[in-house]
C-alpha cells in the first residue's frame, strides 16, 4: 500500500480541492484497487466538507480526523 501525502496547510482556496482532484485523477485507479491512498493535511475548514463530498461522488471512501489544529482527510478505495 502506497500513501500519497498532500500537505496544503496555509494555501489559498481552492488549492485543497484542486490539488486533491489532480492527484485523484492521476492515481485514481490505484486507489480504487486498494494499492494506494491519499492523505490530505489541511487547515481549510471548508475542505473537510468539499473534499469528502467530491471524492465520495467519484466513488472513493473518505474519513476525516483532527490533527494538531488541522484536519487529516484520508481518501481510499476499499474499507
Amino acid at each position: 500500500m502506497q500513501t500519497l501525502d498532500i500537505d496544503i496547510r496555509g494555501q489559498i482556496c481552492p488549492s485543497c480541492l484542486l490539488l486533491t482532484l489532480k492527484e485523484l485523477n492521476r492515481i485514481g485507479a490505484d486507489i480504487r484497487s486498494g494499492e494506494a491512498e491519499i492523505v490530505v493535511l489541511t487547515d481549510d475548514r471548508q475542505a473537510t466538507a468539499t473534499i469528502p463530498a467530491t471524492a465520495n461522488r467519484m466513488g472513493f471512501h473518505t474519513d476525516v480526523e483532527r490533527q494538531d489544529g488541522a484536519y487529516r482527510i484520508r481518501i481510499f478505495g476499499r474499507t
Binding site: 496547510r9 496555509g10 489559498i12 481552492p14 487547515d43 471548508q46 473537510t48 484536519y71
Partner: protein, 370 residues
C-alpha cells in the same frame, strides 16, 4: 462623542464581531460561492447566498413597511452606470486571485492567514491608487448613466417597493423550501465547531437588518479601505494626498436613525462618519474570526505557502481595492444590501462579477495553483 455617533460605533463593532465569528465557523465565503460555480459546477454555497439575499429582501421590506427602516434606498447608492459592471468585473478577477473578497479576506486574516493579510495590504494600496484615476473614471461613469433619476428597479418601473419585493421574496422562499426538502442546502462537514452555512446566512441577514435599522444602511466597508490607504499614503506624501480631488469628496451625508444631527464622511484620511461606521466593523470582523479560531484551537499564523500564491494574493488585493472604488463598493454591500432592495447598481455589479469570476478562475488554475 455625540450619542448618535456612539451608537453607530458600538453597533458596528458588535455586528462585526458576530459576523466575523459566524463567517469563520461556517467558512461563509462569497468568493467560493461564485468561483466554485465555474471551477467545480458546485452550487452549494451560491444557494446559501441566495438564501441570505431572499431573507434580507423580506426583512428590509417588512422593516420598511413597519417603519423601523426609514430610508430606502439607503445612502451612497447612485444612478446605474457602466462603471458598476466594469467594477464588478475587475472585482471578480481580484477576489478569485486573492482567495477571498474584501470581507472574506478579513475573517481569513483574523484566523491567521498571511495570504489574506497580503491581500488586505493590496486592497489598501489599490483603493488609494484609485484616487489617481478618479477624475477620468468618474467622467466615464457620468457619461454612461443607464437610467436617469432611478436608483432601484421599483423606482425605475414606478411601482411601490412592496409590490415587487414581497412577491419576489415569496417566490424565492418557495424555491428555497424545495431546496431544503431535497437536502441541497446542507452537507456534512467535519470541522470542529462547524456552523451550517444556512444558519450563517440567516444570522448574517439578521445582522444586515440590524445594521440597516441602527446605522441606516447595510454592511459596507470599502470606503474606509481608501481612507486607511490614504492615511498610510499621507505619512509619505501628505502634499500629494491633500491635492487629490477624490480624497476631499464627502459622498456620505445623512442623518442616521436615533439622531437629529446630519453626519458626513468620505474617503479622505480624516476621522469622520465613514470611519465611525466602517472602522469598528473591520476591527469586529477580524476580532470575531480570531476569537472563533482560537476557541477551536485552530488559530496559527499560516505563512508557509508557495510564493506564486503570495503574489497572487497581493495582486488580487490590488485589483479588489481598485475595483471596489470603480464599482463603487464591494460584493457584500451589493449582494447582501443592494440586491435585496433591487438597487440597479447592485444588479449591474453582479452582472460584471460573474464573468469576472470566470476569468479569475481561469487565471488561477492556469498560473497560480498548479
Amino acid at each position: 462623542m455625540e450619542q448618535g455617533l456612539l451608537l453607530i460605533v458600538a453597533s458596528s463593532l458588535v455586528i462585526g464581531l458576530v459576523a466575523g465569528f459566524v463567517m469563520h465557523r461556517a467558512d461563509f465565503c462569497t468568493t467560493a460561492a461564485f468561483r466554485d460555480l465555474f471551477l467545480f459546477r458546485d452550487f452549494f454555497l451560491m444557494r446559501q447566498m441566495l438564501l441570505l439575499a431572499v431573507v434580507s429582501m423580506a426583512l428590509f421590506e417588512f422593516g420598511r413597511l413597519a417603519g423601523v427602516i426609514e430610508r430606502q434606498p439607503f445612502p451612497l447608492l447612485g444612478a446605474p452606470t457602466l462603471a458598476n459592471v466594469a467594477g464588478g468585473f475587475v472585482f471578480g478577477i481580484g477576489m478569485v486571485l486573492a482567495g477571498g473578497c474584501v470581507v472574506g479576506s478579513l475573517y481569513k486574516m483574523g484566523a491567521g492567514s498571511l495570504a489574506s493579510a497580503l491581500a488586505f495590504a493590496g486592497m489598501l494600496a489599490g483603493s488609494a491608487a484609485y484616487a489617481e484615476i478618479h477624475p477620468q473614471w468618474s467622467a466615464f461613469a457620468q457619461s454612461t448613466v443607464l437610467v436617469q433619476g432611478a436608483i432601484t428597479v421599483p423606482q425605475w418601473l414606478g411601482v411601490s417597493p412592496a409590490a415587487l419585493l414581497l412577491p419576489l421574496a415569496g417566490l424565492g422562499g418557495v424555491w428555497l423550501a424545495r431546496e431544503f426538502r431535497a437536502g441541497r442546502m446542507q452537507r456534512p462537514a467535519a470541522a470542529v465547531g462547524h456552523l451550517a452555512p444556512w444558519r450563517a446566512a440567516l444570522i448574517l441577514a439578521g445582522l444586515g437588518f440590524a445594521s440597516y435599522v441602527l446605522i441606516g444602511m447595510p454592511m459596507g466597508i470599502t470606503t474606509s479601505y481608501a481612507k486607511l490607504g490614504a492615511a498610510v499614503e499621507s505619512w509619505f506624501a501628505p502634499g500629494h494626498v491633500a491635492g487629490l480631488a477624490y480624497f476631499s469628496l464627502q459622498p456620505l451625508d445623512y442623518t442616521p436613525p436615533f439622531s437629529d444631527q446630519a453626519i458626513r464622511g468620505g474617503p479622505g484620511p480624516q476621522l469622520d462618519a465613514v470611519a465611525a461606521i466602517q472602522y469598528p466593523l473591520i476591527v469586529g470582523i477580524v476580532g470575531g474570526a480570531l476569537l472563533a479560531a482560537v476557541r477551536v484551537g485552530e488559530w496559527r499564523p499560516r505563512w508557509r505557502l508557495p510564493p506564486r500564491q503570495l503574489l497572487s494574493a497581493l495582486a488580487g488585493g490590488l485589483l479588489l481595492g481598485l475595483a471596489a472604488r470603480m464599482a463603487p463598493s464591494c460584493n457584500v454591500w451589493h449582494l447582501w444590501g443592494g440586491v435585496p432592495i433591487l438597487a440597479l447598481q447592485s444588479l449591474l455589479f453582479v452582472a460584471g462579477l460573474l464573468p469576472g469570476t470566470w476569468v479569475g478562475a481561469r487565471l488561477l488554475t492556469r498560473f497560480v495553483i498548479r
